[in-house]
Amino acid sequence: MSLSLDEVRKVARLARLELPEDDLVRMQAQLSAILDYVAQLGELDTRDVEPLAHPLPVQNVFRPDEPTPSLPVEAALRNAPKRVGDYFAVPAVFDSDEPVSP
């Protein structure tokens, strides 16, 4: 199964991964080879098989809802690439000139 360069670009966009053009081309060949390999699963008839997402039969793990101290603000901010006061500074989410739609 071979992926087109446009498909590789689309996946990179979905993954929020900016890649140089020559990387995309290399990726196209490598991803196609890997997808070819995993396509062998198609040989198996799995119509009546339930998917297994998790190896343990553990469900609904509960614990008492008790307040505990959380990370101090300074500790949480220590690794921030950029901070303003007690906040993480990030690029604007919305264009500041345009009204925020509800």
Binding site: L17, L56, N79
Partner: protein, 486 residues
């Protein structure tokens, strides 16, 4: 035998009899690191002052007659994927090159509670993705038995530092073989515990339904010792099961009566190196001499396990690694860009080639229109793989085979061929898909002097029996006593 070549158990005895102090042990291993690290490159960081400080504190505690933990004064190296409070934790990635965690992983807390000396962070394939440790953004770790060869991966630094006598014990993580494969290639013992046996709190996640933390050691006794220290319930990891932790060392020398060993045909198929096969067959003969019965069994879906793994693991990775967006911690691009472009540039700059590849595969197999054909299909195959193990282990105490298809390969040999690299995990990934425990122990060397590993797979939470079975073989062989000349 010099101090650095001893096992942790021996070092504990030397301390309690007063012949050696934790400070002297620490100095011996620090000296070994100064000498060997330029050759092996096992560590991403090692703070000598912090090591000395911890060792001195333990000696003071001993002198004051205070009770000591089970790892008192023993240096333990920790894979750089486990968070250490105030100590840089990089995942061998540029994106976390300056990340200093504000808290300890659960297993690191356990090591501190048992009075271990935290002895540096070890090199790995970036985000634990790889089988050779060549995917580290920082350095290539060498196999102590053959410095032109890889130590295996992804926990290559943790394996190399124990095999190379830079530390007597270390912690690694295993998502598809990342403890067992490097243990085999470096000639030491490595255990992937049952999924849920050890808390992953503070482990930087790769594939959450597969990841486990586990020990590296020179021998089975030391492996049992370190497992005792790290296993057990922790409510901060909801997949960590609340089951009592046995004192694994107590029963270690009790042989398993009427031992039945399942030997899967599929583990001796084409692609298996002749010398590896011969060593594994010889080990099985040794078990027969000890009274075990070899049972010819089949794991019919094991040939599909690798393909299922290379869908499930990247899918989970693409989701887990979405958190590295350059906003709260980690690398943020210097380029001026809007929010989405800042994410994409930061990630493109911060992740290395293999991590990008896995994120891309994972994103693709989860994307609209492909999820059923790839991801859901792989989860169905995962159930079939698990059922194979359930069926065989209903009848056998253990499954045995080679840990790896070949001995350690040379550096660079598979670096440009991702699929060839993936195939070195062919015998180890099914264990993670099934969630069962897996152990690799040394079972010989090639004519060229490269270590070979025997893999033992058991029922969930059956680590005690698995270690006893391993000890039966170890007690009549001496592979575990060999140390490389460095």
């Amino acid at each position: 035998m010099s101090l650095i070549e001893k096992t942790a158990t021996e070092l504990l005895a030397l301390q309690s009899s007063g012949r050696v102090t934790a400070g002297e042990i620490a100095e011996a291993f620090l000296a070994a690191c100064r000498d060997r690290e330029p050759k092996l490159r096992s560590f991403t960081s090692l703070d000598e002052a912090a090591v000395r400080e911890q060792a001195a504190a333990i000696d003071a505690k001993r002198k004051a007659g205070k009770p000591l933990g089970r790892l008192a004064g023993i240096p333990v190296a920790v894979k750089d994927v486990l968070c250490t409070k105030g100590v840089r934790t990089t995942c061998s990635s540029k994106i976390l090159a300056n990340f200093v965690p504000p808290y300890d992983a659960h297993v690191v807390e356990r090591l501190r509670a048992e009075d271990a000396v935290l002895f540096g962070k070890t090199n790995m394939d970036e985000f634990a993705m790889g089988s050779s440790t060549e995917n580290s953004a920082f350095q290539v770790t060498r196999n102590p038995w053959a410095p032109d060869r890889i130590p295996g991966g992804s926990s290559g630094g943790s394996a190399a530092c124990v095999a190379g006598c830079q530390a007597p014990l270390s912690l690694g993580t295993d998502t598809g073989g990342s403890i067992r494969q490097p243990a085999a290639l470096c000639g030491i013992v490595g255990l992937k515990p049952t999924y849920g046996r050890v808390s992953r709190y503070g482990l930087i996640a790769f594939a959450s339904s597969l990841d486990q933390v586990g020990p590296f050691a020179h021998d089975v006794t030391d492996c049992a010792l370190l497992l005792e220290a790290i296993a057990g319930h922790d409510r901060r990891d909801s997949t960590c099961v609340d089951q009592p932790v046995p004192e694994y060392r107590q029963s270690l020398n009790d042989p398993v009566e009427g031992l039945r060993i399942g030997v899967p045909r599929e583990f001796f198929d084409k692609g298996l190196d002749a010398e590896v096969e011969a060593a594994v067959r010889a080990a099985l003969k040794e078990y027969q001499k000890l009274g075990a019965t070899l049972v010819d069994v089949s794991l019919p879906h094991s040939k599909y396990a690798l393909a299922a793994y290379y869908i499930v693991a990247p899918a989970e990775a693409s989701s887990n690694l979405a958190r590295f967006d350059g906003m709260h911690y980690g690398h943020r691009t210097a380029a001026k860009a809007d929010l989405i472009a800042t994410y994409a540039k930061s990630r493109g700059e911060g992740f290395g080639p293999e991590v990008r590849r896995r994120i891309m595969i994972g994103t693709y197999v989860l994307s609209s229109g492909y999820k059923d054909a790839f991801y859901v299909k792989a989860l169905k195959v995962r159930r079939l793989v698990k059922k194979d193990f359930d069926d065989v282990l209903a009848n056998c105490d253990v499954i045995m085979g080679p840990t790896t298809p070949t001995p350690a390969f040379t550096i660079g040999e598979k670096a440009d061929d991702p699929l060839a690299m993936y195939l070195s995990d062919v015998y180890t990934v099914s264990c993670n898909l099934a969630g069962i425990p897996g152990l690799s122990i040394p079972c010989g060397f090639t004519k060229g002097g490269l270590p070979i590993g025997l893999q033992l797979l058991g029922k969930p939470f059956d680590e005690e029996k698995l270690l006893r079975i391993a000890r039966m073989y170890e007690a009549v062989t001496d592979w575990h006593t060999r140390r490389p000349r460095l």
